[in-house]
């Protein structure tokens, strides 16, 4: 089974966000970058599928700056076979541009599955996976929490409001992974050592700006200072009064 996994280098969610001097971007000084957590589910799923099939390859693709090689190495340390970095200093805010770059790269491959995390935790775009599927003309299931594959047929589950959708689709297909799909492995020392020797191809790409223009990146409005109403059950009547009369939500 040949599986492509598209991954992204993102700031760790614990990062303190400082706005850059241009007022439009993140100040990256001192920021720790990690493999996007949802992409870990995608990498893990690919590894398990390949192990089950007994043959094939897991290749990892990323659009990002030179430093994203490190992110690709993390996926290689988990067990992926090779990596490709489509190197671009800037990732456009327009996900369609990223999708076009990935689709152009993936088009030539003979993939049974193309996996993504359901979204990146930095820009929350949640769109590149299904856009790549459209560009390649492949069936697509997003935010899968469960996956079964039998030959060229797949069944996936996805969470919807108040229930679970059970979806059937043919392979090859594009899937985006949600939490619950599997338990991603931690790279073992052996894997980390092996990853250093695995092939990682760097291809510079020129990405257009697309049709999303950043106006400003700003801190969220401060919530007005809250108050401690009191201690224990005795504070509850006052809490309810405040919710009714001040906040007017009851």
């Amino acid at each position: 089974m040949n599986i492509a996994v598209c991954i992204k280098r993102v700031p760790d969610s614990e990062t303190r966000v400082k706005i850059g001097s241009d007022g439009k971007s993140l100040d990256e000084a001192g920021v720790k970058f990690v493999l996007n957590p949802y992409d870990e589910f995608a990498v893990e799923e690919a590894l398990q599928r390949k192990e089950k099939a007994g043959s094939g390859e897991v290749a990892v693709f990323s659009v990002g700056p030179a430093a994203a090689q490190e992110t690709i190495r993390t996926a290689l340390a988990m067990g992926a076979d090779r990596g490709v970095l489509l190197q671009s200093d800037k990732i456009p805010a327009d996900g369609y541009i990223t999708a076009q770059a990935l689709a152009a790269e993936l088009k030539a491959g003979n993939w049974d599955l193309i996996l993504f995390g359901k979204m990146a935790i930095d820009d929350y775009n949640q769109q590149v996976g299904p856009m790549v599927a459209e560009l390649l003309g492949l069936p697509c299931v997003t935010a899968a929490t469960h996956l079964e594959i039998d030959g060229a047929k797949g069944v996936a589950e996805r969470e919807i409001e108040g229930g679970i959708e059970v979806v059937e689709f043919p392979l090859p297909a594009v899937l985006t992974a949600d939490k619950g799909l599997n338990e991603p492995r931690y790279p073992a020392l052996k894997g980390i050592m092996a990853a250093k020797k695995k092939p990682l191809e760097v291809k510079p790409v020129q990405l257009g700006a697309g049709s999303i223009e950043i106006v400003a990146l700003t801190p969220p409005p401060q919530r007005k200072d809250g108050k401690i109403v009191g201690e224990g059950a005795a504070a509850v009547p006052e809490l309810v009064r405040l919710l009714r009369e001040e906040a007017k939500v009851l």
Partner: protein
């Protein structure tokens, strides 16, 4: 006169409430609003959309639209979007909208600003604001695609009534057979509200001590008379106490209810990412230094097993 396409949703032939929010957001972009719904037949409640500012309600019908049909619906919506010269197409950032909007955007070859919390028009351009970096920053963007594609975060755009005559039209949609087919929907417990859609969300964390104790929160939720859902922190979902569908936070759902009550939740960044756009936040925690109190509008320091039952009693009085 410009025109905006508001893609609304139905389930089992009934209009979903989030549709009112989509029409309300679409209306902010100016011009006329055409609400578009894909369904197998007439949609109950679609005639109400005029009340929220829809000038026209168009139902695209196809037998395959009885359930969510990602490929067929994307095809039908794309055809409609191409035909009308719309300045913008607005979706809900619901489970369906998040799946559907990128497909339509790619078919149209334009950008998508997803999960936005503010929309407007400035200097003739569609602008939108989206929370990024776990809600620690807001990104304001100009959406220059023609049409400008947006999806709006549930529970953020409070429906505004602005009655219009609202004409209705039904069109049979011819779509190719879908490869991706929804076989079945496993419904959650009857009557259970989804955390992403409830007006009141009561979430529990490790402070609940054991899974069985969530019944304390369920009783409080019931006291709100069918408007409340019970959510959970990542810690208790990872421990297997609650389903992932109930998780609020970065690796769970983003919620914006009118009232969010965090019970026994310390307030890690990853939890705050999922609930900081709630309108009013109440925290109940025995640790007065818990970070959750920094984002809460109202806090009660104390033993949740005493505070929550008392709160349930008081809420029952209001609703009884």
């Amino acid at each position: 006169m410009t025109s905006v396409l508001a893609v609304v949703e139905q389930r089992d032939g009934a209009l979903r409430k989030i549709s009112h929010e989509v029409v309300t957001a679409a209306h902010r972009l100016g011009g006329t609003v055409e609400a578009l719904v894909c369904a197998a037949g007439p949609v109950k409640g679609a005639d109400q959309l005029g009340k929220f500012g829809a000038d026209t309600v168009v139902t695209l019908t196809n037998a395959a639209f009885a359930k969510y049909a990602p490929e067929g619906m994307a095809h039908a919506i794309t055809e409609r979007a191409k035909s009308g010269g719309y300045t913008a197409v607005v979706f809900a950032a619901s489970a369906t909208g998040k799946d559907l909007a990128p497909r339509v955007a790619a078919k149209l070859g334009v950008a998508l600003a997803g999960d936005v919390t503010e929309v407007g028009v400035e200097g003739g351009a569609v602008v939108a604001t989206r929370p990024v970096y776990a809600g620690k920053a807001l990104l304001k963007v100009k959406v220059m695609g023609k049409p400008a594609m947006l999806s709006v975060r549930p529970n953020v755009f409070t429906p505004v009534e602005r009655p219009k005559a609202g004409t209705a039209e039904t069109i049979a949609a011819n779509v190719p057979a879908g490869r991706v087919v929804v076989r079945e929907i496993k419904a959650a417990e009857a009557g259970a509200l989804d955390v992403a859609e409830a007006q009141v969300v009561i979430s529990g964390g490790r402070g609940l001590k054991e899974p069985g104790n969530f019944k304390v929160l369920e009783e409080l939720a019931r006291a709100f008379g069918g408007q409340a859902a019970v959510g959970a922190s990542r810690a208790v979902v990872d421990a297997g106490w609650r389903a992932h569908a109930d998780q609020v936070g970065q690796t769970g759902k983003t919620v914006s209810p009118t009232l969010y009550i965090a019970v026994g939740i310390s307030g890690a960044i990853q939890h705050l990412a999922g609930m900081r756009t709630s309108k009013v936040i109440v925290a109940i925690n025995k640790d007065k230094d818990a970070p959750i109190f920094k984002v809460a509008d109202y806090g009660v320091v104390g033993d949740l097993f005493e505070v929550v039952p008392k709160l349930t009693e008081e809420i029952k009085k209001l609703h009884g």
